[in-house]
Point group: D2
Chain length 340, copies 4
């Protein structure tokens, strides 16, 4: 870190900062500039609280230099991580093949789920999404079928061979969800539910971690670090749109996060164009753009009857629209030397 002193800071104030640095087990390098003094701190301060020195007299601000995460960083692991989903070797995220996960927002009933599962398999998906536990903004909204939903997902896997990706919302659901699912999803609203991150880190199924709706990439990678630091390195990062002032979308899909994450981390990156826009008529275009940008996977909401969907009808595409989107995605994948 760099401690920037105020203009006119006194030697005594600088000396005090130096002492604080040494107390932290670090070394200092005091640079007296023409207008300001800065104290460059040498050593691994990655895991220290680096802002508290801002409360010291004479300090203007503290600028961190080292990224605060380690296991998620490309600096410690150059080769890209490939995360398998279930037993089908084709169902992996992070390799040459772009892995597509598709399915309804919520598991509603057997007929609905199986119809959609077969359709997305047909379209080219390798994973099946579908919520059994649903985080809903309103307490009066449909909250999911819970274990019944998980059973239906397992049934759909049996019938189609698709890997099951489903959300876990609470620590006490982890074992149950892990029993049925191939991949545990941690939703955007829980990206900083640290107890949950620890719990999914303590089990061995892969985790699809969604970016919080206004999380920075650093916070996103630190959430992944929580999981990894507990021993589970099978983490997929999912960009699902961020909250901005924009009104024509539910969220602003930040596709530059794809190359930026690839630069910072070895973990694979999945894009959610459904949540990422909130509008079914924007999903197709954003699937293509995501793959062109370098995304390792897609997760797409598909419903056979969106206007009666129990959740998120406005952003679900139909199986026909999904099939068309997949055709386009395959062409884009080929154009960037990948498959889909």
């Amino acid at each position: 870190m760099i401690v920037v002193m105020k203009q006119g800071s006194t030697p005594k104030q600088v000396e005090h900062v130096v002492q604080l640095v040494r107390e932290m087990g670090l070394k200092e390098n005091v640079i007296v500039g023409e207008e300001r003094t800065v104290v460059a701190v040498i050593g691994n301060d990655r895991f220290k609280d680096r802002t508290r020195m801002e409360s010291s007299d004479g300090v203007e601000k503290v600028v961190p230099i080292l990224a605060p995460y380690k296991m998620a960083s490309r600096e410690v692991k150059k080769e890209r991580t490939v995360v398998p989903m279930g037993s089908d070797p084709k169902a992996a995220i992070g390799g040459v093949r772009v892995g597509v996960i598709a399915g309804p927002c919520s598991v509603e009933n057997k007929a609905q789920l199986l119809e959609i599962a077969h359709a997305v398999k047909e379209g080219g998906a390798v994973g099946l999404r579908g919520g059994a536990f649903k985080p809903r903004t309103s307490p009066y909204a449909f909250q999911g079928l819970a274990e019944k939903g998980l059973e239906l997902l397992a049934l759909a896997r049996e019938e189609t061979g698709l890997a099951v990706v489903t959300e876990v919302m609470a620590v006490d659901q982890v074992d149950l969800v892990a029993k049925y699912a191939d991949v545990l999803q941690v939703g955007a609203r829980n990206m900083q539910n640290f107890n949950l991150l620890n719990a999914v880190g303590d089990q061995s199924k892969p985790v699809l971690l969604k970016r919080g709706m206004s999380a920075t990439l650093e916070e996103f990678l630190l959430a992944a670090e929580y999981i990894m630091s507990r021993g589970n390195g099978q983490v997929m990062l999912c960009e699902r749109g961020i909250r901005t002032y924009e009104e024509y979308v539910r969220n602003t899909l930040a596709l530059a996060a794809v190359p930026a994450l690839h630069r910072a981390t070895h973990l694979p990156v999945v894009i959610d164009p459904s949540q990422g826009t909130g509008k079914n008529y924007l999903v197709d275009s954003m699937c293509r753009a995501a793959v062109a940008a370098g995304a390792d996977g897609l997760i797409v909401e598909v419903h056979n009857d969106p206007e009666h969907a129990m959740t998120d009808g406005a952003q679900s595409i139909t199986p026909e629209q999904f099939a068309a989107a997949m055709k386009a995605v395959k062409r884009i994948a080929a154009a960037v030397d990948r498959e889909a």
Copy 2:
């Protein structure tokens, strides 16, 4: 809700929307304008998924009219809710008196906590804040003293009479925290941890609910509705700054939320100027502004040695600064016909 049809929508498409409306148990009023048709929906659609009709052919968009919350709304309860904190009748939020909660970000040890508790009591606080379970962005950072911290808080209450306000991060901590605390705090990162909201709604201690860092007021009130719908009406809403593009602050403190919330809900509103700015030199000014804006309470981070604080030193003020801030707050409170 109002369903706005696209320009050039067909009568058949309108008819289909009408059928969907009736299926939902609602009535319609079709208004054929010069350029567009709109279908005004009559009846209580407050708890329906109102956007799914956006996936129907010929529909441009759906505009909700009714707020989706009910128990939190001023429409069902005109008189303002006053939330007591502990046994001291002066320690209530929502009455004429502006209630001030102060203390360290984290409970670190007995000496630290007691010294600060006495100091903030002296300064005029009625509640003591202090984290025993700490939601930390990094897995490598100090995570709190857990039950040991709760015991120290209880001790501090015994010595000072201050009501204890402390965060609960997970469902399985609720009983433990409720055993020691007078008020359970749900942090910004957990504002949409719905399992936790249900759990604090199922017990009887008052809840200080912090606004998520990019939550809308509607989402904020729906989070309160989760708690209230489980039977716990003792909810305080805490604005703690939102995430914006601004760089000179950690968060942008949205003080217009105070009168806007007072207009929408009967629940009291507390301001957190410490988290709300992230800079100790802005806290004093924002305490004054909050009270002038009509806030019912303040929650302020105070530390006796900010440059050695284990968490959030940069935004903590010292006991001396707190005392000065409180003097100013009392004058402002008097100027708006309140006390502090």
Copy 3:
């Protein structure tokens, strides 16, 4: 528009709103719901101030229904507009061919400009960008070569055949810039400089209009409407990133704006991945994603010596990087049935 009355509004208040509606030359349809009354307004209120009724007693809010722009709307013109740039028929934006505009941020001198112009021509660009008048955040920064820069751009056009695209910052520069340029660029900071919009609307050269850094799409299209309403329909819309809380980029490139704009307007859409990210290492990926998303054109900053560039070196790519990006773009264009 829809005027939503407050719960408990009186018949007299509703009657007053009805009178205001009639005063505006519009008709009303009063819908008495179970909880609220709404007044649906019939007629073209597109060009009225629709919020002022929010100040009337008993009114909760006013919801606009009709988009406030007309000439830019797809509702009045279904076929897509193709904007020619200069005399080369290949240099058009909005047709099957994706038009690429490239060049330095600023025109610095003859050797620099000609070298870059030849290189981008070689790489496949059809337009040459380069600023002669530079909007700089700091008054102490390089402000551009002014007319001298325009002369160099004209010279580069002569040597390469590239169409010249350059920014005009002020009304009194319009004639001068129009004398040299093939396309007048209005920068993001001037998107709501209405006098300038009128001035470029009063002349006949095509206009590349950049989205303001926090403009909504509606505001963006209204800015285009300013230009079009003065008689100049040759407007290209350029998305260049919006300001959000994100830190790893200078701006967040909102690629969903491409299909969203295509849905709302017949005007072509150009993406600026340089300004849109601020980082040269993200440009390549965003060029590909933009074309996959359906963009009609790209505008890219290229410099032969970025570390000595007088402006925006951090986001400029080299001619070699541009050539590689173009190869990738051509493959993506083919995959979406376009050329580049």
Copy 4:
């Protein structure tokens, strides 16, 4: 500035950076850390383009240390600037007295303006606002009375003694507006219209500079620096709300900007609670909060008939509401040892 090298950067890359630093006329201090090398740059780099080195091999990022403005900085002028408005010594912004500017959004006609002017004078205003040139989002909206409006403002000054504050939108309006007005307002949309900033800097009337709707404080102060660097030091900074994701307001009023600006600059700070919220029912509370936060002035939209106002009716308060707000403001001012 600090140049942070990538992990694994080579000595040759560091040497190259050192050469670039020296080329810029600056000195370097190379600090070899355990994980990374950083190059601390010594000397005044305030007016250099500090990011271009980010394009050099081996460079991770560049961190600026010195603020890029100088004349606006408190570092060069410790005492606070007081800006007089017109000839009445009470009508100054920046002294003990909080100066209140009030009036209609637009000048509409003589009767309207005079009625409002007398009313706000009565209420305690020292300045009269009113737009003669109106920046309107839509080309079809009322664009202001132009010179006729200026004449009416001058008449109102004559009748009431209020200082006239009115917006100038274009370079070629500066002389005209300066002929009639006591203070020239530069609107939020023109905060980075650099030609206009230069033009108001070249004349001698005070300038009320509004913060752009998503400008950082640094950009805001650089805009002031444009004006000051041309010789006009009479600049008032006006915070008028920023664009965020919030929906219950038109803009989010960032009141922490008041103490933050007072820390960074000697220029006075004015708050616009009308534009800053967009809702008349929030204005009163935000007037109080602004003064409590330390604002040096307020600028408030007042209309005698908001529901027929030609512009901004939804955020205008009536003369009666203004009188009540002023009473409250005076009490708050007294509580912070100021007057109003």
